[in-house]
């Protein structure tokens, strides 16, 4: 093998894929824009929706209001609530079709009973899956609780008992996690997942372009007859795809870090400052690099099986899912990088990076992950090289 020739192929492939709009989009634009857009879009959407919901007037219904004239008066005075008459048997459908957001049902002689120091209950109808209904529910609950408190106060006053007597012990909680750690926690969940997916995604179009794309355009045969060994061809292409995966992953990490630092996600949890320790950076590098090699090899080998761009895309889509599911393990709380896990590709990388971001460095397991990933990486490279050597793959008819 002649490394100089590998280099010639590599530079030519890089030049070629960097002029491809699809690659530019998937390798540069997607990782750079996905985080600002995602975080900004999501949080501002949720915030604005919530604000709007709070200010809006909502329709509610009271059932058997004659049982609670006092409470009814209080509710009538609240500007954001509008009372509507609904027959009691159509409450459910009225909430379902959003004629009203919630309803309260007062039991027989509620207020008289309360005055006589008897207890009873009220029922609130609402739909938890509807944000507006849930907001109204919270409001009504607060309102009823305040009312109940005032009744309690009256009863206590009658007996000349101090209210404080009823709460001997106040329970307070303080979250000792620094805002940084809270932010780190969320980032540690998302970043490994995103990194892995971006790496794969970034290598996909170049891999297709350099294999099935070459078959489709009839250029593959021209390099097969040029004085290159199959190993030189596959290595040149491999390094080009590897570069694409690595660049995409690096850009993705940078973009995610910057957008969370700048607090683009205002109001969201990611707003908290996030800083990555040098060790965590090292772990990401050590774990991502062999995984990227693995991806590059597999992507090339699979895409080479296809005759055309379209066919290659349909082969690689299932691969995307095969990677998404293990990568999602980073969202699972309580799942840790164990020695066994360290041998499972993707899962091990995701878990190793997640723990490193949380400040846990299990170096032993990290090295096991690295070594096992290197084995998978060499497997990926070998598969790609084999594919390039197979006549039935190269000249598939």
């Amino acid at each position: 093998m002649n490394l100089k020739k590998v280099k010639i192929v590599f530079f030519k492939e890089m030049l070629d894929i960097l002029r491809d709009r699809r690659t530019i989009i998937s390798m540069l634009l997607v990782p750079l824009l996905v985080f600002p857009i995602l975080t900004m879009g999501f949080t501002s959407l949720i915030l604005s929706q919530a604000k709007k919901a709070e200010k809006q007037t909502h329709k509610i219904a009271l059932l058997q209001e004659q049982n609670a004239p006092g409470l009814t008066e209080i509710i009538k005075k609240i500007p954001t609530l509008e009372l509507v008459k609904i027959p009691s048997d159509s409450i459910q459908s009225a909430i379902n079709n959003k004629t009203i957001r919630a309803a309260i049902k007062f039991p027989e002689n509620l207020e008289t009973k309360l005055q006589n120091e008897e207890n009873d209950s009220v029922l609130i109808y609402y739909d938890q899956t509807e944000m507006k209904s849930a907001i109204v529910y919270t409001k009504l609950k607060e309102l009823l609780k305040t009312y109940a408190d005032s009744v309690t106060d009256l009863r206590l006053l009658k007996r000349k008992i101090d209210r404080k007597l009823l709460s001997p012990l106040k329970i307070k909680a303080e979250n000792v996690a620094s805002p940084k750690k809270v932010g780190g926690f969320f980032i540690s969940m998302f970043l490994p997942y995103i990194l892995v997916l971006l790496a794969l995604q970034g290598g996909m179009y170049p891999a297709i372009d350099l294999t099935a794309g070459e078959k489709e355009r009839g250029t593959l045969e021209t390099i097969l007859v040029s004085p290159l060994s199959r190993l030189e061809i596959s290595l040149g292409k491999f390094f080009a795809v590897l570069t694409a995966t690595v660049v995409t992953a690096i850009l993705g990490t940078t973009s995610m870090t910057v957008s969370s630092l700048l607090g683009i996600a205002k109001g969201g949890e990611m707003q908290a400052a996030f800083s990555m320790s040098p060790e965590a950076g090292l772990v990401i590098l050590v774990l991502m690099l062999p995984l990227c090699c693995f991806f590059a090899g597999i992507l090339l080998a699979i895409a080479l099986l296809a005759k055309s761009y379209k066919e290659a895309q349909s082969y690689l889509t299932p691969l995307m899912f095969l990677v998404i599911f293990p990568a999602m393990i980073s969202f699972m709380p309580g799942f840790e990088l164990s020695t066994k896990v360290a041998f499972i590709p993707i899962v091990s990388t995701v878990m190793g990076i997640k723990e490193a971001l949380l400040g846990n460095f299990h170096w032993g397991k990290i090295w096991i992950t690295f070594v096992s990933n290197c084995v998978f990486a060499s497997f990926g490279i070998i598969v790609a090289k084999r594919a390039f050597e197979k006549e039935s793959v190269i000249f598939r008819v």
């Binding site: 020739k5 010639i8 030519k12 030049l15 009839g218 021209t222 097969l224 040029s226 039935s392 190269i394």
Partner: protein
């Protein structure tokens, strides 16, 4: 320059089973000679030429190209050949010049040698006007020239051309014919396949009729005319092929 001996290629096809695409072929072709493989669709022309170009490995038999064995020294063989087919494409996103540079580098040319050869080729093929143009924006004829430039950039002694005029318009096809004649004058060994009879008749020193992987007969056009007492090559071709049915 080219000498095949009992060259055979069998494909294992999942649906069709064993396909003997090239069946025990032996022929030779000297420097300064144009050797034409004449055959119907599926006769085995492309497979034969791919074997010579080492992109396929023979099932049995072998060949030597420019003194190197296609099985034992494929790398050396590749350095000695220029390979062009009607189907080979070009990298659409490179310019004409970048394409030539890329292949020149692959053939081991660099620095001043590379520049010199590139200038030479561009002048020879009259490509000055469009050398900076991106390939996918070139006309078909211009693309054809880039392909030829890529094929001969390393000045190979052997040219392997698989239906080089297929899918071309009259003018572009004529460019190719001129290119072959020029190469013959320059003393190159040229093997090319076609099913266009008049092209074969016009260009070939030796014509080999290939059918179902076998070479049925080979000779010069006058030899064929003499033997079959027929003037036209297409009639000779049909007669030979029908006789074997």
């Amino acid at each position: 320059m080219i000498q095949t001996s009992n060259l055979t290629k069998i494909f294992e096809d999942k649906k069709r089973g064993k396909i003997t695409a090239v069946d025990n072929i032996t022929f030779s072709c000297k420097a300064g000679e144009v050797f034409g493989l004449l055959g119907l669709n599926g006769a085995g022309k492309t497979t034969t030429l791919r074997l010579l170009a080492t992109s396929l490995k023979p099932t049995s038999g072998t060949a030597s190209v420019s003194g190197f064995d296609i099985v034992k020294e494929p790398q050396r063989v590749k350095e000695k050949i220029g390979f062009l087919t009607g189907d080979t494409g070009l990298y659409a996103r490179l310019t004409a010049e970048e394409t030539i540079t890329y292949f020149a580098r692959l053939y081991g040319l660099h620095n001043s040698d590379l520049e010199k050869r590139k200038t030479e080729i561009i002048k020879l093929l009259d490509m000055e006007d469009f050398k900076k143009g991106q390939v996918d924006k070139l006309s078909l004829g211009q693309k054809q020239k880039v392909s030829i430039a890529r094929t001969v950039i390393h000045n190979p002694p052997v040219l392997i051309l698989d239906e080089p005029t297929a899918r071309l318009d009259v003018i572009s096809a004529r460019n190719i014919v001129e290119f072959i004649k020029e190469a013959k004058r320059a003393g190159k060994c040229i093997i090319f396949s076609t099913h266009i009879m008049h092209e074969a008749a016009k260009l070939c020193d030796v014509i080999a009729i290939i059918h179902k992987g076998k070479i049925l007969e080979a000779g010069t056009l006058p030899q064929f005319q003499e033997k079959y007492k027929i003037q036209e090559l297409d009639d000779i071709f049909v007669k030979i092929v029908e006789e074997k049915r």
